[in-house]
Amino acid sequence: MSLSELEPGKCAIVESILGGKYLRQKLVNLGMIPGSEVRVIRANKMGPMVLDVQGSQIMIGQGMAKRINVKQK
């Protein structure tokens, strides 16, 4: 499933990232690499998602969240 479908409070493991080098680089910088765990803190269809990634809060737009495949835990 894509990250954008994940509901608040749920945890998931990042499986793959569909996107160019620039986009992937930004995700890598913030610790979102395949195999890393994310937890959804805030999400609604009106705006970006807020995730907990390795203890820091990451804000990510819906468009980008759609391009990240995750496996719900």
């Binding site: 620039y22 890598v28 610790g31 203890g55 990451i58 737009g61």
Partner: protein
């Protein structure tokens, strides 16, 4: 290296790791703020003295990694590689060690002398974390110290730690291991890269790994020097991708994270779980419904302080600068016997230019102050969150809303406010839209005309102008998005910083540096433009230099000459002062009123003093109501004042500033012509020309868009 008189330390670390607080604690007020050459990245340097030794700290921009995908990262990496710093001081946020250590691992791989400072130990502790510093130091094979900027004793401890390590300059012997396929390739390529690496004085293993990651800079070095050819590199990397089922750069990132996560598990213990206070604040501020009114309240505050309080000081600055640089300078020159023409051009030309620059200082200062407050407190990221969906329709990040709001006050600080946006494409689109947010200087013109022509509907008329401005701005933003600045819209992904109390000294120092930068950059252009305009308004073809006879000046002649261009918006040939008003509006939009006043009264009519009803009737004899509204539409949309144009030129490029001014003027003509012709003129030829021009703009923008390199914009 303790015999050296000056030791240079490079501070590097993730954004929000408390790096600048630590920097401030060490250097005090002894710091210089400027820009790195060629980019808009801020360069901060500071000094301190310890045990008879001078230390110079270069505070590099906050970054997450050294893979140069942003200007900040590129500047940092180039600086570390240049070896201009004796020691790299890597500052880590203790409460988020794993992610922060990713950068540490990259620094260690560069084989430059590095020490690690664990900052915000107090915060980590209150978050329920316990860190074994000695153990961490053993793992990284690099000196580590733990500090909290709030603890006074930690500053001398840190100074001592840096003193010890600058005499040893430790380079960590740690080597990160990658899967065999990558290691084999490293072994294969490293030998041939050895010489080049030595020549550039960079580590050869590091260089080889970056080649495998397809780093642009390293790849071009290797292929330009014909060490390896492009095909050879691509074939090998394709091969790796086939075996590992993932691109090499991701595999490397994965292994680096694997290594740092392993260390993190061993040295960090979570004693208890704490819910941070910022989570509670965020549940209100980032609430899908509550967040919006909070955002607008904050924006109102920014607007109020920048414009209203700024305005209060503008009069002071303007009057004082006028007394000194225009009247004072003029009297002085007359007193020393300078000819009138010389004293006029120096005082009313250059002096008036300086006066104009000075009068912008309050707006610009308050705007930078408010922006720093928004950024430093952590609210800016939340504002980006709240407005993301809405601004996303224009392909802009939520943060782009802030300059738009500031634009209703003054276009100049609004253009400068786009610096908070991350990429050049976003900045260009935003700057393109900002002048259409009707600035405060245009209001007196609207008020005067509305009172004369629509006395019962003044408010509605002024409001409609603001709305037209917003509408045209949104349409223009959309137009440039689909024509000129195509390509991937910037995706929002950023760390939400923790809230903290804004640091007064930090903010004031930075505001001051940015204001100085504005004066230096935009000041020259403004002074030159004001000087040129003063020549045109005081010289006439007939009787040479005569500053009191505006009606005969070159400016007036140009106005008469250009007036037929405006017959489409209802300005008749005998109403040429209206055209001259547009010319002087280029100085400052509010001066349109003064110009009309001066010329109409010189032409023998009574001046249009807004207070007297007799004055208002003068306007009525020159404009029909529809022509008056069309004229206001033109004033709303045509090129912004010289200060705004020069700001756009300095922020993006000269050609961008000119293109924008030209675009706005043509759009102003199109909109006001369409309005006047539909309401009163009913001339199909003008309507046709207006629509044709609109089509021409779209065609030209599409052409420019095709010629622009795509990757340059998003970087």
């Amino acid at each position: 290296m303790s015999n050296k008189n000056n030791i240079t330390l490079a501070f590097t670390g993730n954004p929000n790791c408390g790096k600048s607080s630590l920097f401030n604690a060490l250097t005090g007020a002894k710091q210089q703020i400027g820009n790195w050459p060629g980019v808009t990245v801020e360069r901060v340097e500071g000094q301190y003295k310890y045990k008879e030794q001078n230390y110079n700290i270069v505070d590099l921009p906050g970054i997450y990694s050294l893979s140069p995908s942003s200007e900040d990262e590129k500047v940092s990496r180039d600086y570390v590689l240049s070896r201009k710093a004796d020691l790299v001081v890597n500052i880590l946020d203790s409460s988020n060690l794993a992610r922060n250590m990713y950068l540490t691992a990259q620094l260690i791989e560069m084989k430059v002398p590095v020490v690690v400072v664990l900052n915000m130990m107090d915060l980590a502790e209150s978050n329920g974390l316990q860190i074994d510093i000695e153990h961490l130091s053993a793992h990284l094979k690099c000196p580590v110290i733990g500090v909290s900027a709030t603890n006074q004793n930690d500053v001398p401890r840190l100074k001592d730690f840096l003193d010890v390590n600058t005499s040893q300059l430790p380079t960590s012997p740690t080597i990160l291991k990658y899967p065999n396929e990558i290691e084999n390739l490293v072994n294969k390529w490293m030998v041939s890269l050895e010489n080049k690496a030595r020549e550039l004085s960079i580590d050869s293993r590091w260089m080889t790994l970056r080649l495998i990651e397809e780093d642009q800079w390293i790849t071009s070095i290797v292929t330009d020097a014909e060490i390896l050819n492009k095909d050879e590199i691509t074939t090998e990397l394709k091969h790796i991708k086939q075996i590992l089922n993932e691109t090499a750069d991701m595999v490397i990132a994965d292994y680096v994270y694997g290594a740092v996560n392993g260390i993190n598990r061993e040295v960090v213990k979570r004693i208890k779980k704490v819910k941070p206070i910022s989570d509670i604040v965020d549940s209100v501020v980032m609430h899908p419904i509550l967040g919006v009114p909070i955002f607008f309240a904050v924006m109102m505050l920014v607007f109020f302080v920048t414009i209203e309080i700024g305005n209060y000081f503008v009069d002071w600055f303007d009057t004082l600068a006028g007394i000194v640089f225009v009247d004072g300078l003029g009297s002085l020159l007359t007193a020393v016997g300078a000819p009138e023409i010389v004293s006029f051009f120096i005082a009313d030309g250059i002096g008036a230019g300086i006066q104009m620059v000075i009068s912008f200082i309050p707006f610009v200062s308050f705007m930078f102050l408010m922006l720093s407050l928004l950024e430093d407190s952590g609210y800016m990221a939340r504002a980006a969150f709240v407005m993301d969906k809405f601004m996303g329709l224009l392909g802009l990040p939520g943060k782009a809303f802030v300059p738009m709001i500031v634009g209703f006050g003054c276009t100049v600080p609004a253009i400068l406010a786009t610096r908070t946006l991350d990429n050049k494409r976003d900045r260009m689109i935003t700057i393109f839209m900002v002048p259409m947010m009707s600035c405060g200087a245009r209001l007196p013109v609207y008020a005067l005309f509305a009172a004369a022509f629509f006395p019962t509907k003044t408010g509605l008329i002024v409001f409609s102008l603001y709305m037209v401005g917003i509408l045209v701005a949104v349409l223009s933003g959309f137009l440039v998005k689909v024509t000129m600045f195509r390509g991937e819209p910037s995706h929002l992904i950023m760390e939400l910083p923790r809230y903290h109390v804004p640091r007064a000294k930090h903010i004031l120092l930075h505001t001051w540096a940015r204001v100085l930068d504005f004066i230096r950059r935009a000041g020259q252009v403004i002074i030159i433009a004001v000087f040129i305009m003063s020549i045109f308004s005081s010289l006439s073809f007939g009787d040479g230099f005569n500053p009191d006879n505006v009606t005969e000046s070159i400016l007036a002649a140009a106005g008469r000459f250009a007036t037929p261009l405006f017959s489409s918006i209802g300005i008749s040939n005998d109403n040429w002062p209206a055209t001259v008003g547009l010319f002087t509006g280029f100085f400052a939009k509010e001066s349109v009123v003064g110009t009309l006043n001066a010329i109409y009264s010189q032409l023998g009519n009574i001046g249009i003093d807004s207070a007297s009803s007799a004055g208002l009737s003068v306007l009525k004899s020159y404009f029909s109501p529809a022509a008056a509204y069309a004229y206001l539409l033109f004033i709303l949309l045509y090129m912004p004042c010289v200060a705004a144009v020069s700001a756009a030129m300095k922020e993006i490029s000269v050609s961008f500033g000119l293109l924008q001014a030209l675009y706005l003027t043509v759009v102003a003509w199109i909109v006001s012509t369409l309005f006047y012709q539909l309401v009163e003129g009913h001339d199909p030829i003008y309507i046709g020309i207006a629509l044709g021009l609109a089509a021409l703009i779209i065609a030209i923008f599409t052409m420019i868009g095709k010629s622009l390199p795509k990757d340059e914009l998003t970087a």
